[in-house]
């Protein structure tokens, strides 16, 4: 039965009709140059009792193969999103650092140079007259360019995050969604994390930044940057963060396992937030 030359074999050659997993693999990975009358061959070889049975096994196997292939390809997409959001953060940090250096340098040449990226924009429009001014203006141009790259990366993240994780992106906003995916090391690992872990994702990075003297002491993960948490009065912020993290964890699971947008989780979260905030108003 499986004695035929695999070069010219149908996907079912040598398979046990009950083994859907092997069938899915054969469909995903097999190749042959010329199609043949596969239903007829499958029946003749005893793989299926009749053509209806053949098509029914094929239906299950193609759906399984396609589901697995889709998941695998999307996983690759979440890695692209991770690179993009990390590059966006790097571009922002580097642009700010250089802008600081630039403000100091330019401030030694002229008075009232604004700070930050705005300052770089102002300096970039100078017409340099000395070799020193040339360097300063050139540096300012690089800072402006780097900031433009940051903005482009941000647009990329904003348009891709909803494709990779529609529920997470709708709930957290595309950039925070991408950060959560990046911090977890991918959508699949995010989908496998309990809500409590989602709540503190990113706190560790903040801790290291604090130890290096760059930031204030962290108590919270990146989700605390979201309006849902920040915009809730301090006494209820903990409950808001827990509720938000819980729904984010669910959104990540839906995105990973089904990929379809599901309105009800978003409604649930809105209800939950309304309750938490009204609790405060009632006190």
């Amino acid at each position: 039965m499986s004695g035929s030359n695999p070069e010219h074999a149908g996907w079912f050659t040598g398979l046990d009709p009950g083994d859907v997993e092997a069938a899915a693999t054969a469909i995903s990975e097999g190749e042959t140059g010329e199609p043949q009358n596969w239903p007829e061959q499958a029946v003749q070889s005893g793989f299926a009792g009749d053509e209806d049975e053949y098509y029914s096994v094929l239906h299950e196997a193609t759906r399984r193969a396609t589901r697995e292939a889709v998941t695998e390809r999307e996983r690759a997409d979440d890695q692209q999103l991770t690179h993009a959001v990390s590059a966006m953060d790097d571009a922002e940090r580097t642009a700010n650092e250089l802008a600081e250096r630039l403000a100091e340098w330019a401030g030694s040449l002229e008075r009232d140079v604004p700070t930050g990226i705005e300052g770089a924009r102002a300096v970039a429009s100078w017409s340099p007259e000395t070799p020193v001014q040339e360097r300063v203006v050139s540096l300012a141009e690089r800072v402006v360019d780097l900031d433009a790259e940051r903005a482009d990366l941000r647009s990329f993240v904003e348009s891709h995050a909803p494709e990779v994780a529609p529920n997470l992106a709708a709930m957290a906003g595309p950039v925070l969604a991408a950060r959560l995916i990046a911090l977890a090391g991918g959508l699949e690992s995010l989908a496998k994390k309990p809500a409590g872990t989602v709540q503190v994702l990113g706190a560790e990075d903040a801790l290291f930044a604090h130890l290096r003297g760059h930031a204030s002491s962290p108590k919270h993960g990146v989700i605390f940057t979201h309006e849902y948490v920040r915009g809730t009065p301090t006494e209820n912020r903990g409950s808001a963060a827990r509720a938000f993290a819980g729904k984010l964890a669910i959104a990540a699971r839906i995105d990973h396992y089904s990929g379809a947008y599901k309105q009800s989780v978003h409604d649930d979260l809105d209800d939950r937030m309304a309750t938490i905030r009204s609790r405060e108003a009632g006190e």
Binding site: G33, E34, N37, S56, T62, T66, V70
Partner: protein, 212 residues
């Protein structure tokens, strides 16, 4: 006289308007009447537009079909409603996920995440001697896709292709692009009919062909 509609495709009344319809689970938010019929929106489907415009597609119902560029399954869902075994090839993962939902309620629809330019990656699954290939890939090299998939068609099978001018070259006038694609097709197909779909789809040419 328009050719008759394939079995399984009918004109039915929805909100007082006569529309093409097939019988099956709704897919893209279209209504379903009490007998299970759902309208087939020609504005969202090039094959639907070909039927509306009365092209002779040679479809009777029950055909074995290979559908190239199935996307989320809008059109192929209607095809599977009236045809026999229907193989749906799509290479983008996101729409293929929706296609899986469409296939869940259709026993005769076989979704394949494959590249239509590489038929050898699915020739071990898709059977030979098919009655019909529907092609709507809207990417560069549409002629090549049709030629490479010729191997699946029965000698009297049909190619029903929607050729999109802008996919080949954004700058040229569509009228200049179509003759090039048709010349490509003629190396292996006899062209039976062509018609612009502009009433429903800008810059698209419908092509009905059969293997030489």
């Amino acid at each position: 006289m328009s050719p008759s509609l394939p079995d399984g495709v009918e004109r039915r009344s929805f909100d007082g308007r006569e529309r093409l319809a097939t019988r099956g689970e709704p897919v893209y938010g279209e209504p379903q009447d009490d007998d299970g019929w759902r309208p087939w929106d020609a504005g969202r489907s090039k094959l639907g537009a070909m039927l509306e415009l009365g092209l002779d597609l040679g479809l009777d119902g029950g055909e074995r079909v290979l559908y190239l560029g199935a996307a989320a399954g809008t059109t192929v869902s209607h095809v599977a409603d009236f045809a026999g075994p229907t193989y749906a090839v799509e290479f983008a993962p996101r729409p293929a996920r929706d296609l899986l939902d469409v296939a869940a309620s259709r026993e005769n629809l076989f979704p394949l995440l494959k590249d239509a330019r590489k038929p050898e990656t699915y020739a071990h699954v898709v059977e030979s001697g098919l009655d019909c290939i529907v092609q709507d890939v809207a990417t560069r090299g549409q002629g090549t896709v049709a030629l490479r998939n010729n191997r699946f068609l029965a000698p009297d099978g049909r190619l029903l292709a929607a050729i999109k001018a802008r996919s080949e070259d954004v700058l040229s006038d569509p009228a200049d692009v179509f003759p090039d694609v048709l010349a490509d097709l003629r190396t292996e197909y006899e062209i039976l009919d062509t018609q612009r779909l502009d009433r429903y789809h800008d810059d698209h040419l419908a092509v009905v062909a059969t293997p030489k």
